[in-house]
Symmetry: C2
Subunit: 125 residues, 2 copies
DNA sequence: ACACCGATTCGATAGTTGTCAAACTCGACC
DNA sequence: GGTCGAGTTTGACAACTATCGAATCGGTGT
């Protein structure tokens, strides 16, 4: 509301394998990009969602059933579902229904963008 | 205060140059670590704070004055100050007062942890 | 001492979020 | 086709957050 939204980039779109952003140690993030990428960080900014994300990202088969996620937490199934929706809408995961079950898998592109933003040089060390 | 010191992840402590956490693509995050690290992601989960962080991280002299940060945003000075406090409390930046001005500089250790968590392999590619 | 300036803190408020229980949808299986 | 089970959506609510203006704090310089 305070920002006139000039060029409107869209890093949360489907077609998003472009590099997008240099490390923030090298270049300041412009406001439109900040809006987009902060949404992804925000999605990881809850303990339950971060754990969900890690369970999905480290799933041995590249995907994991909701039925395996839910019992790992103390919260209700509807809350887990709500958090999964948040991760989905942030572009961090993908869901697919097969038979009675729903499987989630990571979307590495955005994770890579976030990691790059946080300075890959420090990692390469 | 909430940490029973079992395996002690403690990523928000001062003495934090330890690796802490393997990439989440390789190993699930335990609940205590999730609480700690999600706080850092949460701090980056606001457009203004993400831009502030990038301005601090990319400051040519390794630090930047609040007086240079504030005019770059549409929000009030007190709001900027509040966001800077959030980044400070998350362990992402450090502040120092010199004369009339306050200078902020990045704390790379935590940023490195977050980047590693998001899979360094994808970066090294 | 005093006024000034940069930055933080305080108090208030509108908006957002995490959570649950209940209602609902989609597919499977008798 | 009726029922069951897995997930999602809906509605409600307490807790938190982003924001502002006003008050305050810390240093400078007159």
């Amino acid at each position: 509301m305070s920002k006139p939204a000039t060029t409107a980039p869209a890093p949360l779109d489907e077609s998003n394998d472009v590099p997008c952003c240099p490390p923030m140690t090298q270049q300041r993030i412009d406001s439109a990009t900040a809006v987009n990428l902060s949404a992804a960080f925000k999605a990881l900014g809850d303990p339950v969602r971060l754990q969900l994300m890690s369970m999905i990202a480290s799933a041995p088969d590249g995907e994991i059933c909701v039925c395996d996620l839910t019992p790992a937490f103390e919260v209700s199934g509807s809350t887990i579902s709500h958090h999964l929706k948040t991760l989905r809408e942030a572009g961090l995961v993908d869901a697919e229904r097969r038979a009675s079950w729903v499987y989630y898998r990571p979307r590495p592109a955005l994770m890579r963008q976030l990691a790059t933003l946080l300075d890959p040089a420090a990692i390469a060390q």
